[in-house]
Amino acid sequence: MAFVKLSDLTIQYQSYDSKVAWPPTIDHLSATFESGTLTLLTGPSGSGKSTLLKTIAGLYPKFGEASVSGSVTIETSSTQPRVAMMFQDPNQQFAMDTVERELRFALENLQVEADKIDDQVQAALDYVGISNLRHRQLNNLSGGEKQKVALAIIVAMDSEVILLDEPFASIDPAARQTLLIKLRQLNQEAHKTVIIADHDLLNYEPYVDGLVRLSDDGHQLRFFDRDAAHDVFEAFKNSAQLDISVTLPQPNEPTAVTLNQTSLIAGDRTLLKPTSFTFPEHRVILLTGINGSGKSTLLRAITNLSNYIGDITVAGVSTSRFHKNQRYQQVGLVFQEADDQFLNVTVAEELALSLKHSRHPEYFQARLDDDLNNLGLADLREHVVYSLSGGQKKKLQILIMLIMATPILLLDEPFTGLDLQSLNTVVALVKDVQQAFKLTLIMISHQLQGLAPLIDYHAVLANQTLTYVEAIR
């Protein structure tokens, strides 16, 4: 049992440029999260949800270039309150190489007696239902599996306060459901205080006690009572058009990307059996499939970043025949991780580089100011790209790749970390550019809401095969 109390908390990131002082991310915030509750913390992207959680977890100001004033109090019966954190990026929470060693590492840190460690490791894995992963290499696990391991560690450490920073952003609905059920169980049976930060409110309502919204300026936390929260959840659900259907591609459509008996293998797992499949030209194709099914690997194979067997023909030329530099004039990839996309230091430099090599610089130059305004990036031109919030990075990343106007653009979870308003702006922008230049887009997204106006076709990767389907759910 533990409650979390914030008193007059202010968190301010230090600017890389000494002349510019950035406004505080969290500004004189006071609030209390009651003991034994499961709270959903929401707010627009960039409002400071991650920052707030990391501060409660005690990671800031120890790490990160941030100054913190005010206080975070965690009241608990035990002398040393344990605060656990699950991070947004499943790849960044482990120091060891295998699941078992990471769990042992955590328990050894807590000075659990050596002869009790193995039992506790097993108990935690059993609790989450992943005993089969015990001896696996962490690097070979899928995102969803990694988040389950992260939860098992939290269970093993018996932390009183559990903080989760958009933990489901890149995992499939089934894994998300499992994790939510386990978290609710921990909260109700073991009376853990749980705070989940997420901007995607879908399907949370049955699992949470309260809903809290962090205001845009990081100044206020608004607590919703049950009825008010219900209205917010309903409004969110209604704004998310989920049950739509699309047509199937015509057999005679010209193709942009063709798989000829292509297969994908990751470690010892076959992701795609030898498959022949076509992605039609000038269309927007949504690619879905459960977590770990190989969607990202497929996009990386098309861009030659992952190995594959067989042949992939892009814009009429087999990938193996492409000269390296020419291939990337035909096909681009919006990486899952925004940082991978950037090559320069500031926002302005990134935009300039794209405009320099764009296929249609005049078109984008003419609309750049409007786009930046709509995306909320207009005042950030001189900012260092790596200091932007997750949502801001995503918006900039998509913009600079659209400016290139590459005929075939692959997008790997481009909407992660965007709130509904940003999402609508980005979707409108993508659609504009796609129609203006008849681009072919192949897009992976778990987040389906707001995408309806964009999608032409829907391909599903399941059971090691690719198929087109009409329904999008």
Binding site: G64, R82, R104
Partner: protein
């Protein structure tokens, strides 16, 4: 053998042959190293590269000595330097190839009492190695997709790589902290790594044998 003791032994042997000039001892050490390497069953590629790469500095050194001392005709010293390089490489590889990195770190922490921050930081860093290769490839492709070609001398490649490394190191530190790691705090150990008397006997015995060899050859 205990990993810490194994590495200390390898360093001591290397030090000792740096100050002696017996090519016979070098050859004997290289052969012993090679036998241990072969027993660890490395792949062909690794084995060939272990034999090939030292050839460059070894030949370069030997040729340099031969040219310099042609007047004095000191081929003896050239042979000593040539064999010494191989003794270094094979003894060093014999130690590294037979020790999983995880066991080395455990031993460094428990036997050598290296600060845990360094021991686990090193292990975490080591686990990032495969990511570095992927990262460099990703950076180059990201540049190509923006119309820029990065070569291995392009500063942008290094800038991005350093950015990535900084991000990883901070992530690693946050991950370790959130899993209960506190610098210099006491920890328990699921697996206790001991230095057994057998380890001491092998280490001290090897050193005595080496002295005997060197002394014996010196007399002869």
């Amino acid at each position: 053998m205990n990993p810490t003791l194994k590495f200390v032994l390898a360093v001591l042997i290397a030090l000792e042959i740096s100050f002696t000039s017996s090519w016979t001892v070098n050859v004997i050490l290289a052969v012993i190293g090679l036998v241990i390497i072969l027993a660890a069953r490395p792949g062909w590629k690794r084995l060939l590269s272990l034999i090939f790469w030292p050839l460059i500095p070894a030949v370069a050194l030997a040729v340099a000595i031969l040219m310099q001392s042609r007047s004095t005709g000191n081929t003896q010293f050239a042979i000593v330097l040539f064999t010494r390089i191989y003794a270094y490489v094979f003894i060093g590889s014999a130690a590294t190839l037979t020790t999983p990195i995880y066991e080395l770190v455990m031993s460094l922490e428990q036997n050598a009492h290296v600060p845990t921050k360094f021991a686990y930081g090193f292990l975490g860093g080591f686990n990032l190695m495969p990511k570095i290769v992927t990262e460099v490839k990703t950076i180059r492709v990201a540049a190509l997709m923006r119309g820029e070609t990065l070569h291995f001398w392009s500063p942008q490649l290094y800038f991005k790589a350093i950015i990535a490394a900084l991000r990883w190191s901070e992530n690693l530190a946050e991950a370790m902290t959130s899993h209960g790691f506190v610098e210099d705090a006491p920890r328990t150990h699921r697996v206790t790594v001991r230095i057994r008397s057998r380890d001491w006997i092998i280490a001290i015995g090897s050193l005595i044998l080496l002295q005997g060899l060197l002394f014996g050859l010196h007399l002869a």
